[in-house]
């Protein structure tokens, strides 16, 4: 099983006039609570990361899929950079563009270090997502994003290795894909370090990547 992922609940688009003070009070309370908890349970809450920190996980150890040019890619190709691996599909009108737009923003927030942050997008819908379309799609976000397009068996094997869930679901005349929306972050030495939940903000994500870059 995946470790429980942190939900930070900032996805609401509701106006918040007049709330900052209350929010500040809540924040203070949470800080105190977090401190109290850390005092009694040091080992549990000592992670400096906003995302879920992974300690020598037994998953995500291998990645071996063709990119959109047909070249076989492995994790070794990305040594020296922090890599975020994300599974998605192109007919996803919602969370995939949100996650990829967030990755663009993380890269921007990293400033000069942004070129040491790479995104690898793995399609879970190889039936419809051809290499050409995946390449054009990722280029609309950032030309440095790498798309991996395996055949159905390769995709299934990779998802299993990452403990990523995906499933084809019929909808009206067509079908959609349920899928795990977690971004898996590797450090520059190729070690899987973080599971970043979909709800994490670009700011917190960037702060975590900055810390990972220093490892």
């Amino acid at each position: 099983m995946m470790p429980p992922l942190i939900e930070d609940g900032d996805t609401s688009g509701a106006p918040m006039n007049g709330i900052p003070l209350l929010r500040h009070a809540c924040h203070t309370f949470l800080v105190i609570l977090a401190f109290a908890l850390s005092a009694c349970n040091r080992a549990e809450s000592s992670s400096p990361f906003h995302a879920t920190e992974l300690h020598d996980p037994t998953f995500g150890r291998e990645l071996r899929l063709p990119d959109t040019q047909g070249r076989l890619r492995t994790l070794d190709d990305f040594r020296g950079a922090v890599v975020g691996v994300y599974f998605g599909f192109l007919q996803c009108p919602d969370v995939c563009p949100t996650a990829l737009s967030r990755a663009v923003e993380v890269k921007r927030l990293l400033g000069e270090e942004g070129n040491r942050f790479r995104i690898v997008f793995i399609t879970v819908d190889p039936e419809r997502d051809t290499p050409e379309v995946v390449r054009a799609y990722l280029a609309a976000f950032d030309p440095s994003f790498v798309g991996l397009v395996g055949n159905p068996e390769e995709v299934a094997r990779t998802a299993k290795e990452f403990r990523v869930y995906y499933r084809k679901v019929p909808t009206g005349s067509s079908y959609t894909m349920d899928h795990t929306a977690t971004t898996f972050v590797y450090n520059a030495h190729g070690k899987l370090r973080l599971a970043v939940p979909h709800s994490l903000s670009a700011e917190d994500f960037a702060a975590d990547v900055r810390r990972i870059l220093a490892e």
Partner: protein, 165 residues
Amino acid sequence: MLTTKTRRSLGLALMFGAFTLPAWAQTVKVEDPWVQATVAGQKATAAFMKLTADAPVKLTGGKTPVAPVVEIHEMVMEGDVMKMRAIDGGLPLEAGKTVELKPGGYHVMLIDLPKPLKEGEKVPLTLTFTDAEGKTFDVAVEAPVHPLKREHEKGEHGKKAGHEM
């Protein structure tokens, strides 16, 4: 929360209603519609907007010349797994309460696009609503196409033009 603009248009709507009585027709106000751009070969996208109905109705469908299939969808996160589903029976709207179709929630799904939608294009979209008696009516809008790469938005309301507070 009503903006000045909204209040004014509601006022106008009420006046207009008074003049046209008794032939009072239900309406739904559609604000800030937009459609997400696609690249060549990408067969589906979504339209987002804000809807305010003047009576309890449901958004039950739509039509557009850019796609043969239009469905009303909901996106939900279960843990960190995303699921997208068609909303059976349509999206209910309460009278006077604005429902925002936005990423992370509801959208109008446009399926089997024959060609890509580019930023700056306008997509004609006719939304179909069903009232409490089962009668349907249409509202037509033009939704501009916004780029795939979204502008950075924080959790707070801070997006898109047209809002005077």
